[in-house]
Symmetry: C2
């Protein structure tokens, strides 16, 4: 591999000039630029990213942290692959690398070391919850003032920007749609409340019920872990409460699909006996039988915005997007008190009506 020095010699200039040409900095005579470019091309010279990063003290990589237990898929892969795609597109375009990092859920994770060792310049955190160890790990990041962004999880903590979606509004719209259709007793198959997105959906659900003079009935609320299997397993409990149910809201499509299958096995027809609404508008949702009424969430954009957020932070433009962001995040959370912070982005959701409800 050719080095800068050889290029400089061949082009008859100093190494500094080569460096300036390669990085496009400083004033350079056009003729010099051409000479250097020609020499570089002739020698097949390319900037050594490692040395360059070392000299600048930056790795050029952004860490993307995923929860992971071997052989267990905790979340919908649709969810992550959409977000990852959005992140990947933005980072690639900006010339950054995407370093995939697996984290043990509910365990402490030493984000700070990743920065100290210069393995990453920033982190994007996916699938985080507010369980103590996880939150503490993330807060340590914020305390150090390191650039990062949490995706789809609000911590409402200074220095910890979050990009998410307005799940309260999404769940509200879904619940309201059922109520407006004349269904009264709406069950809710939610995910763990340790995810703020679960909590937000609950809030939307509660709010819609409140507007129709109801309060949530714990007896018709169920919990899964966002996997299809957990939905299918929940179908047992749901079936036991069937007499108390006119409809069912699920916190994601996979659980909805699992629940529908579980219910069908027990002879419950969807939507005839029990209308069901999913959440995510995953590609599966339009292909099931019946096609799922669901809530669309712009996960791809979520990934893009999260990446944009840390890149902006890295380039010093402290908060270029924040005008838009705050406007988008204007929804106010009434009940649980944890309003979105000023840093937060809340993307809009949209009810997609199909046949399951």
């Amino acid at each position: 591999m050719a080095t800068r020095r050889e290029v400089a010699e061949l082009a008859g200039v100093s190494e500094a000039t080569v460096s300036r040409v390669m990085n496009g900095v400083g004033p350079i005579k056009e003729e010099t630029r051409r000479k250097v470019a020609a020499a570089a091309a002739e020698l097949g010279y390319q900037l050594n990213a490692l040395a360059s990063g070392f000299a600048k003290g930056r790795s050029g990589n952004i860490g993307v942290v995923l929860p992971h237990v071997p052989k267990v898929r905790l979340f919908s892969t649709y969810y992550f692959s959409e977000i990852l795609s959005g992140i990947g597109d933005v980072l690639h375009q900006a010339g950054y690398g995407l370093l995939l990092l697996y984290r043990n859920p509910q365990a402490r994770y030493d984000y700070v070391s990743l920065y100290r060792t210069r393995r990453v310049d920033a982190c994007l955190i996916l699938g985080a919850s507010d369980l103590p160890e996880e939150a503490a790990s993330v807060f340590a990041l914020a305390d150090e003032g390191l650039p990062c962004c949490v995706v789809d999880q609000r911590y409402a903590r200074a220095g910890l920007p979050c990009v998410g979606a307005d799940h309260r509004a999404g769940a509200y719209a879904a619940t309201r749609y059922m109520l407006d259709a004349g269904h009264r007793r709406i069950g809710f198959l939610n995910g763990s409340p340790h995810y703020s997105n679960s909590a937000d959906r609950y809030e939307g659900y509660r709010q819609a019920l409140a507007e129709s003079g109801q309060s949530p009935d714990p007896a018709i609320q169920f919990e899964g872990n966002y996997s299809r299997k957990s939905g299918q397993e929940a179908a047992g409990a749901i079936f036991d409460r069937l007499a108390a149910l006119d409809g069912l809201l699920c916190a994601n499509d996979r659980m909805a699909i699992g629940a529908i299958q579980g219910l069908r096995e027990r002879g419950v027809a969807v939507p005839e006996r029990l209308p069901v609404i999913g959440y995510d508008n995953s590609d599966a949702s339009s292909l099931t039988d019946p096609p799922l009424t669901t809530v669309e969430v712009p996960f791809y954009e979520m990934g893009r915005l999260a990446a944009d957020s840390v890149l902006a932070r890295l380039s010093g433009e402290s908060r270029v997007l924040s005008g838009i962001e705050v406007a988008e995040g204007a929804a106010v959370y009434q009940a649980n008190g944890s309003k979105p912070a000023a840093d937060d982005v809340l993307l809009p959701t949209q009810l997609i009506i199909r046949r399951s409800c």
Copy 2:
């Protein structure tokens, strides 16, 4: 961030000694080791991975290349997430980082630059095909003698190790199972033949038919792109040929699920009217209605082995595993002539019998 020099001063030793302690190389007096460790702990010193990599000329990252078109999911995410998990586990344990790289399918991709710029020490290539541009890109790697491994795609080219599965045997077993059950006219919904795994499945299918005195009938062969939607779309063509069909083999579960849904929409009962067998044993396969008879493929292990392969190459143990590998890859391909190379690993597949056939 503390530097090596500060640690050396605090511990009262030279920088070289600190380096030796941190890397565990060379003879070190136990007392010295303790002193250094204590100083490092006190200062919160951690090795700067960037500087260390620079000095060694290695980034410490392995590139994992995925095909990607924004907003389009080409393959089953199950497939990739399993393989990625296997890769991630192995790399993490070995102290390597996983650099996720997106490639434009069917386009040229400059792998070699990734190495030249020291962005990666090796590459794992997923979802590759033998389309000209893709193959040329990969062959350039082999020509340069750079460490890499292709996952689930055989190129039978020197210097290009592949880790895959014995899809010929998998498809053979599935087809044979149908034939043994008395079904004669077996349709095949395959993926693009530009993937060797598709071609291998076809070979297994052909072989099983041959043993029962048949040769493949092009009229009952269909092609999808491994997505659920493509399976659903293929259902139209399959329906048109229904009179000529006793059974249907699909090249992955997603297409099988899509096909079953498409068939159901047309009033075709599975398995009563048309038994269907899927492929992959994805987590969805046990949750569909009916549960899919399918072929299990150890994708997680595939990822692990691919990662093992490049790591072994990097540490100079040129071919430690090859004894095992060759044994596993001993299956001989009779028809298409492209036998697995000596480098190749072929993992075993297994027929999983459920209710769709």
